[in-house]
Symmetry: C2
Subunit: 203 residues, 2 copies
């Protein structure tokens, strides 16, 4: 019974996520979620109290938490700057391909029409970026003029703007190329400046 | 009479913009616009047909057009990269301080709940950025490895993400500092790479 309740909860959450990702919060009703999941509207109210409740649960399930990120973020065998770049591609892929993540991002953008506080992942992303930049700087892979916390506070919003706007203006499949172009530019600004000595000896 | 109609149209547009900027599209009714402007609801319907109509007019008035940008963008006495940076601050200031521009940007973000196509300025910004980067590259102020059109397609979404997310996560007054940090990083990646010759002679 406990297990059955879990299965029901999950199928409601995934049906709601699909609908929120496809048509947005305002256009999705509890009846739509019930129809898509094959459960009753009563099940939605029983498990999530309200449409707001299931929206918050969708955002918390993936977009606002990124529990899967912690693993690759903490792998110390990979250089920190490489981990940062890899994380950004993982996030971009989830934002373009995973319905629950997509729904979470769309609900966050639509948060002004939702009658409940919608959590976001940006403090988490900024802290992780700051830390990886600081490690990269210590390792000499990032130039000394970069202030990790300040750089993170501009890179995170710029990255999220790139993800959401590229999809809105072009399409989801364009994002990989845009992200690669963006990293080419950004890594140019982060990398250590060549010292005259290195150039003089031709190294 | 013609003049009086113009004044009425403008006062309706500005009242609607204030309300859309403050509370968003969904929470604003034609009655609210009528009350804020001191005109009748009939005047809203007469001049703009519907709530969608006045929303589109607000977006087109500033956010989607930026007619004022053309002037500073075309001033050939100022180096192209300097014009690009100056334009970005002008846009950031309008996005944080001018109610009609703010309303336009918010309506664009909320476009999925508006039953009408909402225009955007991004093709215009991308074209202007491409052109200024190409001019700067020709003048030797940007390194030869930069492809103007590709760089513009990443810089424009990153810039807009920075503007909208900084305001959402911090506040409008933080934007000037974030934008300065962002340009510090971005200019590092755009500037010409020092040649070994220059360094060797200590210039």
């Amino acid at each position: 019974m406990q297990e059955r309740a879990k299965v029901t909860r999950r199928s409601l959450l995934e049906a709601a996520a699909q609908l929120f990702a496809e048509q947005g919060y305002a256009a999705t009703s509890v009846n739509d979620i019930s129809a898509r999941s094959g459960r009753t509207s009563g099940a939605v109210y029983f498990h999530y109290t309200s449409k707001e409740g299931i929206a918050v649960a969708v955002v918390e399930d993936r977009f606002a938490t990124w529990s899967q990120l912690a693993a690759s973020y903490g792998d110390e065998t990979v250089p920190p700057l490489e981990r940062l770049v890899a994380l950004s591609y993982d996030i971009a892929h989830a934002l373009t391909r995973d319905p629950v993540t997509r729904a979470g991002a769309r609900l966050w953008v639509e948060r002004t029409v939702i009658n409940a506080p919608i959590p976001d992942p940006f403090a988490l992303w900024t802290a992780a970026t700051t830390r990886l930049l600081a490690q990269a700087r210590l390792a000499g892979h990032v130039n000394e003029g970069i202030r990790p916390a300040r750089a993170a506070r501009t890179l995170v919003p710029a990255f999220f703007g790139l993800c959401t706007l590229t999809e809105a203006l072009e399409n989801a499949t364009a994002l990989d190329n845009r992200l690669t172009d963006w990293w080419h530019l950004t890594l140019l600004s982060l990398r250590p400046q060549p010292s005259p000595g290195n150039l003089r000896t031709g190294r």
